[in-house]
């Protein structure tokens, strides 16, 4: 029952003659609630592993504080934190048996033999390792190794469990099974879990809350639903989703006391935004974001729709992904995801795209921040 | 936390100093000796404070009393070693490129045979070489020694350069071939520049080996073609060995190697192929 609090955590790797000084993480402030799974998600090099290592105590941060509940652990060595860390590549002692591997963290703590026996049996039972306890760890498949490593992490019942891409080195099949084990562990244990990954599907599936990072900065810390529906920045909008949000330049215009958003390069398409105009007034340029799956596509002209030409159709059985060439900027291709039907346009055919206002999100172009969530 | 870091610093510094002393003391002694007068060299306890002199250097270049002639030896060494190393690098790199890129029957056996040349101690062939060179009139000639040095540097050059070429992705050559360039252009303009660090490192090592070569020079040269190592041996008169002059020769013979090593130092760091292939 420990919540993890990060207060303005930053990490700077000092420069040398050859390497420039790099800021790996800056200003990470968040509270990871106890007994919840929090994901740290971002592309490689975004600072997520650095943050995790700081929480684990492997590399202390260069600024800011880390608390476990009320205790300042910023400079405590790992062993005094009661946190366990599971790496991407399973660390398993090859020359020991599975039993010894599991018992190792307990032996270090001078716990008596009977207790060790009991705990190892319990853990092995829980993870389905009972049959191979006496086997040497050498030569076991990667998925079993990762299970052993997981077992070793949870056997001392840590207050905080830190996972660094534990599934990404496994094949899809074992990933599926191990993810189930992980869920089981997470739900049945009295522990706060921090899960670092670059794979959004893992984060969306497993986590209660996700911190999306890019270039050392936390862009959004929210529930998976909110991250998907209301991304806080254009980066999150682009990063989350497969494919991500379409981001289109537009500007606000006033006429007859009302305010409209007009898409740059496209005439006669506008959305009324009078209700939110105060939020947009300071923006020089505005970016309109809409997910490919919320765009309506038709072959005939509809009012307030964007004309385009269908470039590529990737059909996937029950739905299709279309790349539509339009006059929008900065990227003139708009991606559309739509259920398969006989009404689908042909390649090179003319199409019209309609954006349902309820799904439109407006961002400030310069800062990339979300300004308006439009509603009906 | 702070104090332990300080102790660590002191320890590291101390160990470094000891290592430097261990490796460099002979060189320091040599340099110091080169600037000593005869009387100071032979003190029972080494003298660290003395009146420096350049007499030893003057002696080896002008007015030497020994058989060795400093100016000539330096000229000889520089000429033989530079010429042979440059030629060996050129021939060796081409051969290595062939070994790296073309598959042909017996390739691996051939490259092993080339390397096997290095397995044999030089003393084994020095006598036959003496007889051979004497009979064809190559003994004591510049050409004779250069040919011999090329021959002894080649296996090393081929072996080293081949491993450097092997590290360069074949796709670089293939891309250049498709661009329409000839094999020779590909080698000179596309492959060699990428292997630059390896090339320069090989050049440096090869130069150093040849520069310090003693055995063949001893047997196959005449006083007109003596190189530095041989001049050193001959720095004596009937009554004594001239340690001061030997030290002065030593100092001078370090200089070219030292200059080349400093000049090439930044290229000796790997990392040139970074970015070629991802």
């Amino acid at each position: 029952m420990v919540k993890v609090v990060l207060e303005n955590v930053g990490k700077v790797f000092k420069g040398s003659k050859k390497a420039k000084e790099t800021v790996a993480v800056k200003g990470f402030t968040a509270e990871f609630p106890s007994n919840k799974v929090v994901g740290i998600l971002g592309p490689s090099g975004c600072g997520k592993t650095t943050t995790l290592r700081a929480i684990a105590g492997l590399d202390p941060p260069s600024e800011g504080k880390i608390y476990f509940e009320d205790k300042d652990v910023t400079y405590l060595p790992p062993i005094e934190r009661d946190a366990a860390l599971l790496f991407q590549f399973a660390v398993v002692y090859d020359n020991m048996t599975v039993f010894d591997n599991l018992a190792f963290p307990l032996m270090v703590k001078n716990i008596n033999k009977e207790e060790i026996n009991k705990r190892v049996k319990e853990t092995a039972e829980f993870l389905g390792l009972s049959d191979i306890l006496k086997k040497r760890a050498k030569g076991l498949p990667a998925s079993i190794n990762q299970k052993i490593a997981l077992g070793r992490a949870i056997i001392r019942k840590p207050k905080v469990l830190l996972l660094d891409e534990p599934l990404s080195s496994l094949d899809p099949e074992s990933r599926l099974y191990l993810r189930r084990e992980l869920k089981k562990v997470i739900r049945s244990m009295d522990t706060t879990v921090v899960y670092v990954t670059h794979d959004q599907s893992e984060a969306m599936t497993l986590c209660d809350k996700i911190a999306v990072m890019n270039e050392g900065k936390v862009h959004q810390y929210d529930t998976p639903e909110n991250i998907y529906l209301n991304p806080a920045t254009t980066f999150v909008a682009w990063f989350i989703g497969e494919p991500g949000m379409n981001l289109i330049d537009c500007s606000m215009e006033a006429s007859e006391g009302k305010y409209y958003i007009k898409i740059d390069g496209v005439s006669d398409v506008s959305f009324e935004v009078s209700k939110w105009s105060h939020a947009l007034k300071e923006s020089d340029k505005i970016v309109l974001g809409i997910r490919p799956e919320f765009i309506t596509i038709t072959k005939t002209y509809k009012k307030n729709s964007i004309a385009g030409k269908c470039l590529v159709i990737e059909s996937f059985g029950s739905f299709a992904l279309l790349d539509i060439l339009t006059n929008c900027s900065p990227n003139n291709i708009i991606k559309v995801k739509t259920p398969l039907s006989d009404d689908l346009p042909k390649v090179d055919g003319d199409v019209y795209l309609t954006f349902p206002p309820a799904y439109i999100r407006l961002f400030d172009k310069k800062s990339g921040e979300l300004r308006v969530v439009m509603t009906e | 936390m702070k104090t332990s870091a300080f102790i660590k610093f002191i320890l590291v510094t101390l160990i470094t100093l000891i290592l430097i002393a261990y490796f460099d003391l002979p060189i320091i002694v040599m340099i110091v000796t080169a600037f000593k007068q005869r009387a100071d060299i032979f003190t029972p306890v080494p003298k660290w404070i003395f009146t420096p002199t350049i007499k030893n250097f003057v002696d080896i270049f002008v007015g030497t009393t020994t058989m060795a002639e400093g100016t000539l030896a330096i000229q000889n060494s520089l000429f033989f070693v530079t010429t042979s190393t440059v030629i060996a690098m050129f021939i060796g790199s081409l051969a290595a490129y062939g070994f790296s890129r073309f598959k042909f029957f017996g390739r691996e056996d051939l490259i092993f045979f080339v390397l096997a040349q290095r397995f044999m101690p030089g003393i084994v062939i020095v006598l036959p070489m003496f007889v051979l060179y004497s009979s064809v009139g190559l003994r004591g000639t510049a050409l004779g020694l250069i040919l011999l040095y090329i021959n002894s540097a080649l296996p090393f050059v081929i072996w080293m350069m081949r491993s450097f070429f092997d590290e360069i992705p074949r796709e670089i050559d293939e891309a250049a071939r498709l661009d329409g360039h000839s094999w020779f252009t590909i080698f000179i303009k596309f492959v060699l520049p990428v292997a630059r660090n390896g090339f320069l490192a090989t050049f440096l090592f090869s130069f150093i080996f040849t520069w310090g070569e003693f055995l063949f020079a001893l047997i196959l040269t005449t006083p007109e073609s003596w190189t530095m190592p041989i001049a050193i041996v001959n720095s004596r008169v009937s009554s004594e060995i001239l340690w001061g002059q030997i030290a002065a020769y030593g100092v001078i013979s370090i200089i070219p190697v030292f200059i080349i090593a400093i000049a090439l130092q930044k290229y000796l760091v790997r990392g040139m192929t970074l970015g070629a292939v991802k």
């Binding site: 599926l176 599907s201 969306m204 497969e242 470039l311 029950s318 | 891309a175 498709l178 970015g275 292939v277």
Partner: protein, 369 residues
């Protein structure tokens, strides 16, 4: 621009791979995609066509020329490598200019052409930088520019041009590439291990495995009529579900019997009549399955089947959900094109349509229907 004909090409690449009697045609102005799992032989074919590797036997024709024994530079082909093979010692300009310099074009001409392609590929700002300082996406564009700058080539070979990019950028490069292809309108041979990329880009798709051509045709045709289990599993958005079973006759009815369920397939009588009483494998594409949470009423129609199972696991992928439904110890993947969350272990019904099922001969793996 010319048509490429590869005829009976055989080539042994060590013990692991031999290209066997490869024959195909890449039509003028089209993208022909070679699709295979890693080490399936596609790179070998690219290199043989480019002239970098020699054939053991067989012929390669480009237009009306027999190019089998020609040197690469005499073939009028251009190639982009999977490893990109940018020249690290030269800047971007020199890299792209390399094929033009080999043609001994006047310098002003070289500058014009390089600048034109750099503009088109949006890399003008990198022209005087070394490849080592570029991002992955930029390097990819430089390599592509170098392959395309030579405008007199008859054939452009692209060996896994997008493989090294990260998934996010790769998806957007696909569309860009398609536009580019339309613009330059050249014959292209494109190798990729990614079935989604292949389905999206190909005019003609050639599926290879272990050095042999397994099937060739348009992407739609191959997706709908995979010749065997391998193609059905490999060519698709997500691996197909395979269920072992057999076809039996019960009176008038024809029944497909598996460990998981029995369904009536009398309507398919014509296609399965030779396989009655023999073992078959049922293939169900995850994207053609549905999960229903409420118990269906009576069988609504003969063509729609409902199979009871439980949710074993689910995962959200972008804006889709993959649901793993467990039926009698076998796990069936279902792809839903929306985000849905499930409670693990709840009862659900798998729904599929008779017209969407694939049947394979269990032994030979060949498609029955």
């Amino acid at each position: 621009m010319a048509k490429l004909v590869v005829e009976n090409v055989t080539k042994k690449y060590g013990p692991a791979l031999t290209l066997e009697k490869i024959s195909f045609t890449a039509e003028e102005g089209q993208i022909t995609v070679l699709l295979s799992p890693p080490n399936g032989g596609k790179t070998g074919i690219c290199k043989i066509v480019a002239g970098l590797d020699e054939v053991d036997s067989g012929k390669v024709y480009l237009g009306d020329r027999d190019i089998t024994d020609l040197e690469p530079k005499e073939r009028r082909v251009s190639m982009m490598f999977q490893k990109l093979a940018l020249y690290p010692n030269m800047n971007v300009f020199e890299n792209i200019a390399s094929p033009l310099k080999a043609l001994h074009l006047p310098p002003s001409e070289v500058i014009n052409q390089v600048e034109a392609i750099a503009n088109k590929m949006k890399i003008s700002h990198t022209l005087y930088r070394k490849p080592g300082t570029l991002s992955g996406g930029e390097r990819q564009r430089v390599a592509l520019s170098r392959a395309l700058v030579k405008n007199n080539a008859d054939l452009y070979i692209l060996d896994e041009p997008l493989t090294n990019l990260d998934a996010k950028i790769r998806a957007s490069m696909r569309a860009e590439f398609k536009i580019l292809q339309k613009e330059i309108n050249q014959t292209m041979l494109y190798a990729t291990p990614d079935p989604i990329e292949a389905l999206a880009l190909a005019d003609k798709l050639i599926v290879l495995d272990k050095g042999k051509i397994i099937q060739q045709g348009t992407p739609e045709y191959i997706y709908r009529n995979p010749i065997n289990k391998f193609v059905a599993t490999f060519v698709g958005y997500y691996p197909i579900n395979l269920i072992e079973g057999s076809i039996i006759e019960k009176g008038e009815k024809i029944i497909l019997q598996t460990n998981l369920f029995e369904i009536e397939i009398s309507k398919l009588r014509d296609s399965v009549k030779d396989h009655i009483n023999s073992k078959v494998t049922l293939g169900l594409r995850p994207e053609l399955l549905n999960v229903v949470k409420k118990e269906p009423k009576v069988q609504e129609s003969l063509d729609l089947f409902y199979i009871k199972g439980e949710v074993f696991e689910f995962e959200i992928r972008g804006s889709d959900t993959v649901v793993y439904v467990k039926i009698n110890d076998q796990i069936i993947r279902v792809l839903e094109s929306k985000i849905t969350k499930y409670d693990i272990g709840i009862k659900v019904w798998l729904q599929f349509n008779l017209k969407d099922i694939y049947l394979f001969d269990a032994e030979s793996g060949l498609l029955i229907r």
